[in-house]
Structures are given as C-alpha cells and as structure tokens.
Amino acid sequence: MEEVKLLGFWPSSFVYRVIWALKLKGVKFDYIEEDLSNKSELLLQYNPVRKNVPVLVHGGKSIAESLVILEYIEETWPQNPLLPKDPHEKALARFWMQFGVDKIRPAIFAYFRAIGEEGEKAKEFQEVLKIVEKQGLGDQKFFGGDNTIGLVDIAFGMLAYWLECIEEVVGVKVLEASSLPRLHAWAQNFKQVPVVKDNLPDRGKLLAHYKHSREKLILAASSSQ
C-alpha cells in the first residue's frame, strides 16, 4: 500500500473535504499541518503552482485543488462510492460542486469582507443559497441520497459548520430555518454524520481565527478612509 499524506491547514474547510473523503473510503493517511504564513519547503515542492492546501501526496505524487483531489480519491479508491454511476447524475453532481466555486465562494467572501454593508451582502448570499435549496437539494436528506452523503455534501460542508462561526463573527445570520428550511435541515443532518461529527476543527479556535481575520479587515477598512 502506497503512502498517503495530506498537507493541510486546521481552519480550512477545503482540507476537511479531503479528510472526510479519505475516512469514508477507509484510507489511512498522515496529516501534516502547514503554517500558511510561513510555507514549508515541502508544500512549495508539492504544490509549486498554487502554493496552497490541501495537497494530497500518494506514493510521492502530489495532487492539488480540493475538488480535483476528491475526484482522484473517488477514482483511486472505488469502495463506498461518493459519485453516482449514471453519467447524467454524475454531471449534475459536478455541476453543483462547480456552483459552489463560481457562486457560493464569492458570495461568502463578499459577505465576510463586508464592512458596513453586512446586511446587503448577507441577503445576496442568501439568494445564492436559495438557488441551491430550490434546484439542487431534492426531496432527499442529503445531496448524495436519503441515507448517504456524496461529494456534493462534502463540497458544501463548510455551510454546515464553518458558516455558523462566520455568522457569529459578522453578526448577521444567513442560513436560517425560516428562509432556507431544507438547506438548514440538511446542515443539521450533515453535522450528525459520524465521519463529519468526528472530524471538525475546534469551534472555539475557529471562532477566534475568524474574529482575528475580521478584525484585520475592519482595521484596514478604517485606515483607508
């Protein structure tokens, strides 16, 4: 069995996507914590182009970009499949993962960086999530089905745990049961899935991490006025 290593950064939801996928497949791996403010030689060697985490190293060969890593994991360890077999269903799953990149990520970014227009950005973010609720999440418990999570659930994982901490720090709620009932329910269910529940960063530490980042933004915004 070839060695598997994961280079990560503890607050990163992108890193956790990979952790959950590896654990669901029963793949043993060594986790290496990276200090992104002081990148190691190892990281720069394994991801010279983007210089970020997560990076999966399998048998000495490195793969970067979390969604690329997820597809690699799915293809290399086919047990406990996380993507549908049917090509059209698979394309749909990939569509929603891409939606996360193109629409959710910028919306959450804008919402976190909004100093003085938190309410407005929160509303815009909610509109994006409404699309997921209406068109992405069917009648089943998870994106992957009624009983199992798949890559889309994993890709959206940050909405289920990281977002709560961000909401607390920004001070305006986004994922509310009143306006996004099904997505809110999905988030609560997702957090209870054993592989997720047992693999999450410490809430207190995460809150402090976001508080610190936001304070820096507020400082920068006020000094540029």
Binding site: I63, I69, E71, P87, H88, K90, A91, R94, F95, F99
Partner: protein
Amino acid sequence: MADVVILLDAYASVFGMRVRVALAEKGIKYEYREEDLRNKSQLLLKMNPVHKKIPVLIHNGKPVCESLIIVHYIDEVWKDKAPLLPSDPYQRAQARFWADFIDKKLYDAQKKIWTAKGEEQETAKKEFIEALKVLEGELGGKPYFMGERFGFLDIALITFYSWFHTYETLGNFSIEAECPKLISWAKRCMQKESVSKSLPDPKKVYEYILEMKKKLGVE
C-alpha cells in the same frame, strides 16, 4: 435507438468551442443551435435555469451544463472512441488541475485585455502572458499536454487560440513573441479537423468583440 444530441452555443464562446471539439473528436452527430445571448431562447432558459448560459448539451432531452463537465460527460457516454481523458487517475488529476488553472487564472486575465484600458489592461496582459508561460512550461517538449495524444487539456486551452488575434490587436502585443512553443502547439492542434472546424475565424471573433464593446459603451 438513435441518440438525439443538441448543442446550445454561441459561435465566439471559448467554452462552447470546447464542446464542439469534443463532439467532433468522437464523431457524434448533433444539432448546433446558435443562441443570441441578448435574447435567450426558451429552451436555454429551461435547460439551464441556474446560470442561463451556454454551452448546454441536451442528450435525449436531458441537459448537461458547464463546458468541462460536458466534455467529461461526452467522454464517459461515448467511451468506445477517441478517449479524451487519460485512464490513469493521477494523469486525470493533472489534466483537471491544469484545466482549473486555465479557467481561474487565464480566463480572468484575458477578459480585462479586451474590456479594460490603460494600467488595468497592462496588468491583465502581464497576468495573461504569465499564465500562458506557466502552461507552456507544463507542455514542455511534448506534442500535446498529456503526451502523444490530443486530449482534454488541449481541448480546454486551444479554444482561446481563436481569441489571440483579438487580444493582440486590442492589447498591442505579440503572443508568439512571448510564448513561441505554445503557438507551435496551437498550430499543431489546428491541423486536426475536429479543432479547425470547431473554432471560428479569428477575424470574425475580433469583429464580434468590437461590436460588443460598442454596445457595452466600452471604447
């Protein structure tokens, strides 16, 4: 039962072109429908309600959206001919990584070359050339990105070649001077019928962009 394949597209779209090349590589018969992006068809709005964008591949009535996702789909459904992605998972991951790089780094930079002016345009040109140089490095001495065979990553990038004339004219620079190896690769790809028949005439693309700029009030 014969497959019914429809492609909703717009001739100048680098994303739409990717699908045309993939379909041509596989020899798939399909109906091409040109969309007027300022007056989108009911079919487009119905088949891609989330983004309302082209390309959309409609296979036996079911839509597939997002160009690279469509190329994956085509490769998986019509798997007996001309494989587009390598079979090895690590090679596939490399192809996907670089396609992601193209869509993130190259796409944003190229847009500002034809929409911006002055310093913003200069910065965009720099970023664009930098990204192309990284890709050129990745190509190395190989005939195609994944080796001896034309495939997924070549498809992801070659479509931008039809826009090079537009970038060079509006940005006043020569891409060949900066990335000669990449231009050799592009010309090699263009010798394939699946590519040359799928890409529009660069002069037409330039005219289209000039018209777009006028309509957008960007001079």
